[in-house]
Symmetry: C2
Subunit: 155 residues, 2 copies
């Protein structure tokens, strides 16, 4: 499939998801023009605020391919990913992102994407989310153990 067809599929998933009672977002993960996995927004249906279309597609693709590394795949999102989903795309190491609608389109439909982008760029003390850095003696222990571990599975 060509990239225009893959994007139309992501948008069609979003349209169908609204008809089914879900949020207006769809995503497709492809490799060499072939669809590996699809995702739609399932936040309210699954009581899972992380169940955005891109996250759902990433989870499904990783499960299908038995890997946590999608560096040979690309993602087509019906809308520009929010910071959570963009972070997930980086962690999954997808090699290319295509999107159609923008975060401003999402904001006009009352989704918080643009607000969260602004928040994440701010120092803690300027964010709406009250944030406290608690320094404790134990804080470094998990990393000390991790760094010393010789048989760890890095990611």
């Amino acid at each position: 499939m060509k990239k225009e067809e893959l994007m139309r599929r992501a948008i069609a998933l979003a349209v169908e998801n609204v008809r089914q009672g879900g949020g207006p977002f769809g995503a497709v993960i492809a490799r060499n023009g072939e669809i590996i996995a699809e995702g739609v927004n399932r936040v309210t249906a699954h009581n899972d605020p992380t169940a955005h279309a891109e996250v759902q597609a990433i989870r499904a693709a990783c499960e299908k391919l038995s890997t946590f590394d999608l560096s040979d795949c690309e993602i087509y999102a019906s809308c520009e990913p929010c910071p959570m989903c963009l972070g997930a795309i980086y962690w999954a190491r997808l090699h290319h992102l295509f999107f159609a609608a923008t975060q401003h389109d999402a904001a006009e439909a009352n989704f918080d994407d643009a607000f969260i982008y602004r928040e994440i760029a701010l120092p803690h003390s300027f964010r709406h989310l009250p944030t406290e850095h608690m320094t404790t003696a134990e804080a470094g222990e998990p990393f000390r153990l991790w760094n010393a571990k010789t048989d760890k599975v890095a990611y």
Copy 2:
């Protein structure tokens, strides 16, 4: 439980997770000093790049409380959340974030948190992730349907 105890629990989860072969991260979600749910990093164990400790804790808390809105809860993270997890915290509407180790501690242990924070703040064309905005006639259709829907479950 006091907040110092809740944070020590999050760090203890991270330490135990390294011993079990997972990543060095733990998180606790609490309400009025009572633990609602816990999470540890399961990226490599579950082949799920989104299975960070905070995301796991959010999913578990939402499942336990049968809601996608954790606005009466707070989160204790053994390490400063990455952008994906911070986004998830905003979407879950947690009212307070406490963290111990910083994103710079994570970077010293070769985790990409600080890199992803820098990337997300950049315009698309300056990011390492090749990103393409595809404008198509259908792009606005999911939002048009969503805005017109009178019985939608907003989130």
